[in-house]
Amino acid sequence: MGQTKSQFTDEELQDYEDLTFFSKKEILLAHKKFKSLAPEKVGHNKNAKLSMSKILQYPELRVNPFGDRICKVFSSSEDGDMTFEDFLDMMNVFSDACPKKLKAEYAFRIWDFDGDDMLGVSDLKQVIERLCGPENKLDDCDMKEIIHCILAEADFDDDGALSFPEFEHVTDKSRDFLNSFRIRL
């Protein structure tokens, strides 16, 4: 721990503590975890940028069907590569203390594959495909049916896609969103 501590100045740590939901100790723990992904690289430079493949070694992201999307959303260079700050951002959003609204915002970005600020039919299709995994394939008819149902339940203005307010409304009313959208540090 001593060595990790020396990598940050007090001011940096204070900033991190102020701007995230973590305490200083947790921030150092997060850095330890980040470092364990690429010890030699991060050991030299605490803000080293790790490639997406390295980030995807993180246990929770490795098995997550949306791992690559998560990397892209939180990466400051938008290509999936992450610095420690991006990593901290990510863990911050997935932490227990993070409010539902912020989580919903990022969940929306993660599932918005084509980046048009709407969860359209193609986005929903990808979400469902990834959720079911590579082995289990739903046929087209079923897929259409499911998407149709989803839109019927949540698309209030009938424009054929979920906008953020609609998505937020749905997650706000869901009992399990907070429980499931969470990665413990």
Binding site: L19, M118, K173, L178
Partner: protein, 856 residues
């Protein structure tokens, strides 16, 4: 005008607050928009914009109404199609629109952003409503809404490649905009500790990367400093409150850090979560929470009751003064053999009877802990510690339950209809880190989708009358059966207790029979009840589970209350308090024996048999619901016994500690993960509700014991006072018959006063209920309004798009414009007549559309 024959009206509101406003209310929803539109066109002063010198109409006048209508029918068939076709025109139109309004803004995106941004304020009604909310809450909310809705839906920008490439504002611009928004809120920009904390909170809740937040923080700090320099007058009172608040904030943060450090088993729980998901880990978290609560209780009991008593015992032994203690200590020395000692450990009899484990081990002495300290009265310490602990437990549990209940029932109300959405967006447990678990999860999700599809594929037959009668009858029979079983169990327990009591020889191992039989009965009954509720064929598994849990809890409650009633009414030779403590001690010991040895043994045996001989047996399930209920039962016994056996809590702490490790080992090595998705948020709340009910029951029972039952005169700390509560009344409050406080107290407990209180409370409940109903009605109305407004917005946007295809801007109705110019003198910049608002509405957050006109 309205060819469609449907009603559309335009109401001109003369609201005092908003003279510049025309409310458009449609009484139809979808089909008659074109009629509405024509009507809008007819009222020529609408939908017009004017810049400094230029004026042009966005929407054509009456002369082109037919033209527009035909356009609408061209591309209005499918609205989405129309959007795509007319995409670029709309952008141009909207950006033109914006440039006129905000000439200074340069980036087309910023223009768009600001024009849409104006819509982020709630409508008047919502504003009024939200004013009653907490001030800072509103500020935070407002800012966040603005930052999220600052960007219009990018769908309308897609057609224009240039705009899309501009869509990422550079960070500085972004920071600038955000800073401006936050600076508007006075509450956030003061140089006080509270405001600082709120500012940070706002920053934390922003959906922006860390770098942006840091820049923003620096920027705000600078502007706050400037602000503070301007406002140099600062009274000492102000400073004092500020210092106090900052002290409170810091200590609160420290408490958070400490409680986080005290969080034990972090890695273990994380491992379990990685392997089995958050539902299983929630059981372990519940266990951990109860353990921490019990450790807290143990700490206080040891500090204030046990430690002083130990100290007293040693001094008493040394000086050989107190004969009663010595006599008590050596009265049960008969069984010195090893087997006798073992038996004593299980039964709580013999040697253990007069130790600190039970009530009779405590003396009623008042003495000095240390020669320099003042007197320490053991009875007072005993009573006050227990009283405070029970109250604290009650407060902790009720607040926790209220919070969880609010989150999982009240806030989530109305979300029950969006089943498939919840199944999609909350399906993946992000905490899973194990590949095997992930594969299982994929399969489970797939199966769930399939199940939903199958259910939809089967055409829903209207249930026949016979079917309904059958369902009704079977459920009624099941309920009656369960009621009989529970009642029978109660009666059976009563008979059994009487029987065992009447037999003379109740010593040695036979004393364990009551506890053993009751615990085993409960175990068997629970599986019978679960089986019955599975037979009942409820549609949702959650309902089945809840009903089974409720019945099991009822069974436990009945058995425990029969036991308590029996124990309280039984006639004792001496020291009835100790006997009650011993009985509960035996219950807890047998329950621990079953939980820690027998059940794990069964699990291991089954796992071994299934892996070696009979594979069809399968590995055991990890039944979270039964185990959680077991924890509640355990806790109820503890709370009942704590008053007369303070060290029980130490036993429970050890038990929970062992239980965690045993269950974890069983789960990770032997049990199979559940193959269906089990959503537990509500069930967790149910356990807390059960815990709350049991703690309430226990407190009522103890209240009865304290006030109604005379204490035994031979042993224990309260042997001198007739009733337990008298030690409080006489000793602590020093009340005498004719004091005013005493009179007030006696007045308060008279039936009339209690009756008045009850009536007042009922009236209050009635009032709140009526209020909540009215709110619900209001929410419903607002939702309908949102729906209509969303429809209007969509329709009008499409109309703008289709009209913008026809770029003939010369069709300005010059006459009407001229007329208007005469009436209203030019006001710079703010003088625009159309403003579209994307309303972020509070209750359903859908977009709405309101037409405004300054010129009515």
């Amino acid at each position: 005008m309205s060819d469609c024959g449907q009603e559309n009206r335009i109401f001109v509101s003369d609201d005092a607050e908003d003279l510049d406003r025309i409310e458009v209310i449609t009484t139809s929803t979808t089909s008659s928009h074109s009629a509405l539109f024509t009507q809008l066109e007819g009222s020529q002063n609408l939908l017009t914009t004017s810049g400094n010198e230029q004026q042009f109409r966005i929407v054509t006048g009456t002369s082109t109404a037919d033209d527009v209508k035909s356009k609408h029918s061209d591309c209005g068939g499918s609205r989405d199609g129309a959007d795509e076709q007319c995409g670029d025109e709309s952008i141009e139109l909207i950006s033109n629109f914006g440039t006129l309004q905000y000439r200074r803004a340069t980036s087309p995106l910023a223009v768009l952003a600001s024009s849409f941004n104006r819509g982020a304020t709630p409508t008047n009604m919502m504003r009024r409503w939200s004013q009653t909310l907490a001030r800072f809450d509103r500020d935070k909310h407002g800012i966040r809404e603005k930052t999220i809705y600052r960007m219009p839906s990018r769908r309308y920008l897609q057609a224009d490649g240039k705009l899309l490439s501009n869509s990422r504002c550079d960070t500085e611009n972004e920071v600038e905009l955000l800073a401006q928004e936050i600076e508007q809120h006075d509450g956030l920009m003061q140089d006080t500790a509270l405001s600082h904390e709120h500012r940070l909170e706002t920053l934390r809740a922003l959906p922006q990367p860390l770098a942006t937040k840091r820049l923003l923080k620096r920027k705000l700090a600078i502007s706050v400093e400037q602000h503070a320099i301007e406002e140099t007058r600062c009274s000492w009172c102000h400073k004092l409150t500020n210092a106090f608040i900052s002290f409170l904030l810091r200590s609160w943060k420290l408490v958070g850090v400490i409680s986080h450090t005290l969080e034990i088993w972090y890695d273990e729980v994380k491992t379990i979560e990685g392997h089995f998901g958050c539902n299983v880990s929630s059981y372990f978290k519940f266990l951990r929470w109860l353990l921490m609560l019990n450790v807290f209780v143990l700490f206080f009991v040891v500090c204030f009751v046990i430690f002083p008593q130990l100290l007293y015992n040693t001094t008493a032994n040394e000086i050989n003064l107190n004969e009663t203690v010595l006599a008590d200590k050596y009265v049960g020395n008969s069984s010195e053999t090893a087997s006798g000692l073992l038996m004593d450990v299980f039964t709580g009899e013999g040697y253990l009877q007069n130790t600190l484990l039970f009530y009779s081990g405590y003396s009623n002495a008042t003495f000095r802990l240390h020669p320099t300290l003042s007197q320490y009265s053991l009875p007072h310490a005993y009573f006050m510690t227990m009283l405070v602990l029970y109250l604290l437990i009650f407060i902790v549990i009720s607040t926790k339950m209220a919070r969880v209940y609010r989150i999982s029932f009240i806030q989530a109300a109305g979300g029950g209809r969006a089943i498939l959405v919840a199944k999609t967006f909350c399906a993946w447990d992000f905490g899973i880190s194990n590949r095997k678990a992930a594969e299982l999860k994929h399969i489970a999700i797939f199966a769930e989708f399939k199940a939903v599809l199958n259910e939809r594929a089967v055409p829903k037959r209207k249930p026949t009358i016979w079917w309904r009668i059958w369902i009704f009858c079977s459920r009624a029979i099941a309920h009656v059966l369960v009621a009989t079983i529970i009642g029978g169990a109660g009666v059976g327990v009563w008979i059994l207790l009487k029987e065992l009591d009447s037999t003379d020889d109740v010593s040695g191992w036979r004393t364990l029979s009551t506890a053993g039989i009751l615990n085993l009965t409960m175990l068997l009954m629970q599986s019978v009840l679960s089986w019955i509720s599975r037979m009942e064929d409820y549609r949702s598994p959650r309902r089945t589970l809840h009903i089974a849990l409720l019945r099991n809890f009822l069974l436990e409650a009945v058995i425990i209350s029969v036991l308590v009633y029996f124990l309280l009414t039984k006639s004792y030779s001496q020291c009835w308090e100790t006997h009650i403590g011993q009985e509960l001690y035996r219950f807890i010991i047998t329950d621990s024996f079953i939980c820690l040895i027998i059940i794990p043994f069964c699990c291991v045996t089954r796992a071994l048999l299934s892996s070696i001989y009979w594979p069809w047996l399968g590995r055991p399930d990890f039944d979270i619901s039964q185990k959680s209920l077991g924890l509640v039962y355990n806790q109820t016994l503890l709370w009942l016994g704590l008053l007369f056996s303070p060290l029980l809590v130490a036993i429970i702490v050890c038990k929970l500690f062992l239980k965690f490790y045993i269950n974890k080992a069983l789960l990770l090595h032997l049990c199979k993960p559940s193959c269906h998705i089990w959503r537990s948020a509500q069930t967790q709340t149910l356990y807390l509700v059960f815990t709350f009910v049991s703690v309430l029951g226990v407190i009522l029972t103890l209240g009865y014991i304290m006030t109604q039952l005379p204490m035994s005169a031979q042993c224990g700390p309260f042997r001198d006072s007739g009733y337990m509560f008298q030690i409080f009344i006489d000793g602590v409050l020093k009340l005498r018959e004719n004091q005013t406080l005493w009179r007030i107290l006696t007045l308060l407990v008279r039936p009339a006063a209690v009756g008045i209180m009850l009536v007042t409370l009922s009236a209050l409940v009635y009032y709140l209920r009526a209020k909540s109903r009215a709110r619900r009605l209001m929410v419903k109305l607002l939702k309908e309004m949102i729906y209509l407004e969303a429809k209007d917005k969509e329709f009008l946007l499409n109309r703008i798009i289709s009209v913008s295809k026809n770029r003939d801007w010369s069709l300005v109705d010059a006459k009407s414009l001229g007329r208007r110019r005469q009436r209203t003198p030019q006001t710079p910049q703010t003088d625009f007549f159309v403003q579209n608002e994307i309303n972020s509405n509070h209750s359903a957050r859908s977009d709405g559309f309101i037409l405004r006109s300054r010129d009515v």
